[in-house]
Assembly symmetry: C2
Homo-oligomer: 196 residues x 2
DNA sequence: GCCTGAAGCTAATGCCGTTAGCCTTTAGCT
DNA sequence: AGCTAAAGGCTAACGGCATTAGCTTCAGGC
């Protein structure tokens, strides 16, 4: 049988697909090896450890998230960019919960960890989006953190099944985005928006 | 030595203290047994499994969070209640990251799982707090989810070390709370606040 | 004083990550 | 073409951890 040659990249890809199916917590070397048609120890010819594998998946996930986000924001600004970016992130998390969990669990392993630029690309997209709101420069970091918090929190709660009541989650998300948009526009309008 | 008799409750308490120290992911039966001065298998005389232990910790954590939140909101309303409640939750998560993680990982095991009323008590506190904003009834659920998302997201990112840039996290949190407050008050003022 | 059950222990099982060591294949060099 | 060496697979084995089985001990109720 013509075997596609196994590489660290292809294994990472398979691992990412696996965690999206079984959940990041249930990632195991045995399961992945089975998917690849090899025995567990053979995996170690390609990745150093399970932690290494998880980290590679995290880098892949963060890179993909960056792409998705850039594409969503591309060509839009202000409210449109916010709505598109937020929606894109939510979709990404719902379609790739395992990847997303991996990217959350990851910590940079050193100063030249490729995970760092991948994360920065995501943050840069959010920053670009926020720049459309003409916020006070001193507030941008706070707005950024608020934005990240709310989107991260919503996505996490949603995939964890945290929204039990039978009210439309889609509707809540639209409401949330509008809420953010209005607050950000108010902040721009007043020049300070929020005092503290 | 006069040993305090071991009970499921005391073991859960010790487990909760342990996860706050070592992290929920690093919870192990051996570590907990060592803390209690017994051998690992003896633990099974008191709890059914590690999953059972984790679930008990989650119930304890959710109950404690409910207490903290109720106490914080007690006697306040509107912006004050929001600020106090949000601050109380953040403090709880920072002081008890392991408990918090346990409560997030937990899923109800059945219809009469005590975890359910414990969760509901937390939600009820948030609902009570939101009622001070006189929102349109149809929007309360969305506001609630937004609130939970942003607080959960912020707390999670913070304990995970997700805020790298050296801008004050305290300040960001204050900003976030003010942002929410202004948005909620605007929503009440207009009677609808957010359109979608 | 005996019996029972609660609660400890040791020993053993099985799963999983990981390492060591062996074998086959294949790419590349002479 | 033929040799060499690395790449990449495999089996066997180790160690850690959750869990179970079965023994022992000790305190409290009859």
């Amino acid at each position: 049988m013509p075997k596609a040659r196994l590489t660290p990249a292809s294994i990472t890809e398979a691992g990412a697909a696996l965690v999206d199916e079984v959940g990041f917590d249930n990632l195991s070397m045995g399961l992945l090896a089975e998917r690849l048609g090899i025995k567990t120890p053979s995996l170690y010819k390609h990745v150093a450890s399970q932690a290494d594998l998880a980290h590679r998946i995290a880098i892949l996930a963060m890179t993909e998230a960056g792409d998705v986000l850039r594409d969503a924001i591309q060509g839009r600004s202000g409210s449109d960019a916010l709505a598109a970016g937020a929606q894109a992130m939510r979709t990404f998390v719902r379609e790739h919960p395992g990847r997303y969990a991996a990217s959350n669990a990851a910590r940079p392993t050193g100063p030249d960890d490729p995970f760092i630029p991948a994360s920065e690309r995501v943050l840069a997209s959010w920053a670009a989006m926020l720049s459309g709101y003409d916020l006070d420069p001193g507030q941008e970091i706070h707005a950024m953190r608020t934005l990240r918090s709310v989107l991260h929190g919503f996505a996490t709660l949603e995939v964890a099944g945290g929204f039990q009541i039978d009210a439309s989650v889609d509707e809540s998300f639209t409401w949330l985005v509008s809420f953010l948009d209005q607050g950000l526009r108010a902040g721009a309008a007043t020049g300070s928006g929020v005092t503290h």
